[in-house]
Amino acid sequence: MRVLWLDQYDETQHAQVGGKCASLGAMIAAGLPVPPAFAVTVDAFKESMRQGGADERLKDALRSIDISDVDALRSRAEEIQAIVRSVKPAPALADAVREAYGSLCERLGTDVPVAVRSSATAEDLPGASFAGEHDTYLWVRGADAVLAKMVECWASLFTDRAIAYREEMKFPHDAVFMSVGVQQMVEPRVSGVAMTLNPVNGDRSKIAIDAAWGLGESVVSGEVTPDHYVIDKIVFEIVGRTVSKKELEVVVVDHAVMRRPLEGERAEASCLTDDEVKAVARLARKAEKHFGRPQDVEWAIDGEAGAPVVHLLQSRPETVWSNKPRTSVSAGVKGGLESVVSTLLSPIRVRKP
């Protein structure tokens, strides 16, 4: 199997589609609103790499890498990536990808814009997110372009930063493989990330949302100071809100993804309404409940201002607070009555929100 539609995904296929695609598949299975997507499998990657002994050459090149020498690492990574790029996708694979993309176009229109995403087998693990270690290509149109970006995703398994990260995290290079996700792209008014706990203090009753105009890349890359919202995930009340000046938005103009400077009212306006904050939070909460642990999600909103449609683009386990031992506030507190006494002796302060 070279291509797998993610609405057909089940857990036994995890090793075939990598972390990101597996989580997309699980999100679709959970009924979450994820744009349609298919995965180019790990088998397909391996099959292509076996052509002309590319895999053996990779293995040699990856032996005894010194990640402390930045320059040496960079040139070694470039050599390795050149090996990957020299490989043509196996013909059967190319056909399968063309067919799958063609069927997306049948459903959604000519030259459907897609995101081509890396989905490595060691990725989005609770202990190591590999967040941003591999490449993603946005607004890719046409089967040829999809195939070309697929190869780029394969190559991104061997960027200097990915190699260094694996060394740091003690993942052997020859045990990590690359699947590639191809997913319809929405053109969002506003998008961003959400975390189903408060990253400031680890409070699990909150959902923290970062949002900016346009595509979410500006938030993920840190190019923009996003608007920040904190919402209680149980009663769905917004308890914190910081609206920042957003200097730019990432938008698609003439089928090209570009950065557009923002000024005036739009730069300073809150890019989510209260209802939209709650809609995003509800989706994040649903993802968290489904996966049974705190999540870090990417979302996007399109549709008219009055009738927003929220899409979930990605959901992965939160890795910072989830791996820390939970701190207890009960340390030193004895019985109920002593607690009442200590409350009276050092009373709480009530804040106005």
């Binding site: 009753s205 939970r326 607690s339 002796l345 009373p347 106005k352």
Partner: protein, 605 residues
């Protein structure tokens, strides 16, 4: 207005023109004075407009004393609350100012074991003691209801002679007055038997929630303990039931009109179904319509049972909605389900000791909260309503003997002056001459009325003296809503940009024309879709809560009765804005943001 770092000294507040001599209308121990100036200057005093929104008449200060001294006594002498003594108060220009008094720091440690023993006993035996409380409270009210002040006859009944009673009106009235006054105090002693401990347990639970879930909304904390079967909401439930019955009996048209209660009653008497409905109304009335339209602390807060046009107007509203096909039943099952869902989901986020502690604290808070919600009906509503009614009965005896123009004039006398007036009246009746009071009281009451009218025209400051850097006293925060932030708001004074901020007491955003209600008896003026702006809201306003779009108040802590009811009814509300009734006028368009606590004036009338 520029920011200052303190409020005026109580000794620098001027008497408004025409209010001169107001000091004589209150006992001297209630006034700021040179004798205790050092203490009084050193304290921070904030105005209590939650319980006493208006100028207090000389008699009404009775309940100010009973309530605050009983509260204080339980803190300081019964339960030995470690850091807090009582809450002292003074009357200035007819308004009530409070100051919490801290325990001597050196005594705090020594008070702890006593508190543990005493409060512990109550927490452990809460339900049993609460059952006893209910018996005691109902017994006082029953004894209050049994008090009688008969008009004075030319000749006492023969039965007085033949029964060998040996005493009559002079003794009866004197004794009844003293009994009435003492029962008022008894009622207030009971009021605080549980309340302070209830607040303490709730505070502990509240503080724990804020620790484990740092930004948890206050509303969520309240939701987890909100009672379901609460007597404070029963009067409104009775109105809904009566409205439903009226529609079932085919009386909807007659009730859905603007006629007065007297007219409606007359027309209902003509049909069997009308009489059946009136009988049900009579059943509901006792005791549930002993429900004040205000806090219950002013003698002239309208009580439903004595002003049947008020409940009738609420029934009008409900009948109209029933006729329009609306369901007016309270979704009790949904409320219980939501409370349980919220509690379970927060609990699930915790593990280990935190989870065990949370469960224990929610449990204790729920146990105590029923009293916190419920006592209000028995004391401030039922008890006070009967008390004021009996005082009016005595007032009408004075009217007949020429002392007063109207029964309510009695509230212009101090509690301690009434025995004198009574002796004058009873003595003259006994002797068969004219009482002196017939000449002195009408003039004196008119004079006092004039003084209080002059005081009403002045706007009292929100606070006096030097505020503490941080407000930490728990009851001040919970009950009166006085926080470091609200003090800053008061110090900032009225803002010029038309904005107000306060507590986000109940979520949601609403926009509409404002209706400013400063006298609770005007509540009937409120129209559908309006934003209610008031010094505070009363639980008895609940029937209009579904008609209005939102509410803004000057005052209110999160545990004040008004706040409890707003949450119960899910009404978007911003409380504790300090200046809303001064800054907003009826007809202005305003936006209430119950999420952020902001109130914006959008345009003039």
């Amino acid at each position: 207005m520029s920011k200052m770092n303190r409020f005026s000294s109580p000794f620098d507040i001027e008497t408004p023109p025409g209010g001169e001599g107001w000091q004589d209308l209150y006992s001297s121990h209630l006034l700021f004075s040179e004798d205790r100036k050092d203490y009084e200057e050193s304290q921070f005093w904030f105005r209590d407009s939650i319980h006493w929104p208006r100028v207090i008449t000389p008699f009404d200060v009775t309940f100010t004393e009973y309530a605050l001294y009983s509260l204080s006594q339980y803190n300081s002498r019964h339960y030995m609350v470690p850091p807090a003594l009582g809450v002292d108060f003074r009357i200035l220009n007819g308004y009530c100012f409070l100051t919490p008094v801290a325990a001597n720091p050196a005594d705090i440690e020594g008070r702890v074991p006593h508190f543990m023993e005493r409060a512990g006993f109550y927490y452990q035996n809460w339900n049993e003691l609460y059952d006893k409380w209910m018996v005691k409270a109902k017994d006082v009210v029953a004894r209050l209801e049994a008090v009688e002040f008969a008009q004075l006859p030319d000749m006492v009944d023969l039965e007085v002679v033949t029964s060998g009673a040996g005493k009559s009106h002079m003794y009866d009235h004197t004794r009844s007055y003293h009994a009435l006054i003492d029962m008022g105090l008894e009622l207030w002693q009971y009021h605080f038997e549980f309340l302070n401990l209830g607040y303490a347990a709730y505070l502990d639970y509240f503080g724990f929630c804020k620790q484990v879930f740092p930004d948890i909304p206050d509303l969520a904390i309240a939701k987890m303990v909100a009672g379901i079967d609460v007597d404070l909401f029963r009067p409104d439930m009775e109105l809904r039931k009566l409205s439903q019955r009226a529609v079932e009996l085919g009386l909807g048209d007659r009730l859905n009109s603007s006629a007065s209660f007297a007219e409606v009653e007359k027309s209902l008497q003509e049909s069997p179904s009308g009489r059946a409905w009136l009988a049900e109304l009579e059943d509901a009335k006792h005791p549930w319509f002993n429900y004040s339209n205000g806090s219950g602390f002013h003698h002239n807060d309208a009580v439903w049972a004595d002003n049947m046009d008020i409940p009738l107007s609420f029934i009008n509203g409900y009948v109209g909605r029933l006729v329009a096909g609306e369901n007016i039943e309270r979704p009790t099952a949904a409320i219980i389900a939501e409370r349980d869902r919220v509690t379970a989901e927060y609990t699930d986020l915790l593990d280990g000791d935190d989870r065990a502690n949370f469960e224990q604290k929610v449990g204790l808070a729920r146990l105590v909260f029923h009293y916190v919600e419920n006592h209000n009906f028995y004391v401030e509503h039922w008890g006070h309503s009967v008390f004021w009614r009996k005082m009016r009965e005595l007032g009408s005896v004075f009217v007949q003997q020429g002392f007063f123009q109207e029964p309510d004039d009695i509230f212009y006398l101090k509690r301690t002056e009434i025995p004198d007036a009574l002796m004058d009246m009873m003595g003259a009746w006994a002797v068969g001459t004219e009482p002196r009071g017939k000449y002195t009281y009408p003039k004196e009451v008119a004079r006092r009325r004039g003084i209080l009218e002059a005081l009403k025209k002045s706007t009292p400051p929100p606070a006096l003296g030097v505020p503490p850097e941080v407000v930490t006293e728990p009851f001040t925060i919970m009950l009166w809503g006085v926080t470091s932030e609200s003090i800053q708001t008061w110090l900032g004074g009225l803002s010029n940009d038309g904005g107000l901020s306060g507590f986000a007491a109940s979520p949601g955003v609403a926009e509409g024309p404002a209706r400013v209600i400063t006298d609770s008896n005007d509540i009937g003026q409120v129209q559908d879709g309006e934003i209610l702006v008031a010094p505070l809201t009363a639980p008895s306003w609940a029937p209009i809560f579904r008609r209005i779009a939102g509410t803004v108040t000057d005052t209110g802590g999160m545990m004040s009765h008004a706040a409890i009811v707003c949450r119960e009814y899910g009404l978007p509300a911003v409380t504790g804005t300090a200046f809303a009734t001064q800054q907003i006028q009826t007809g202005m368009r305003v936006r209430v943001d119950g999420n952020s606590g902001e109130v914006t004036i959008l345009g003039g009338p």
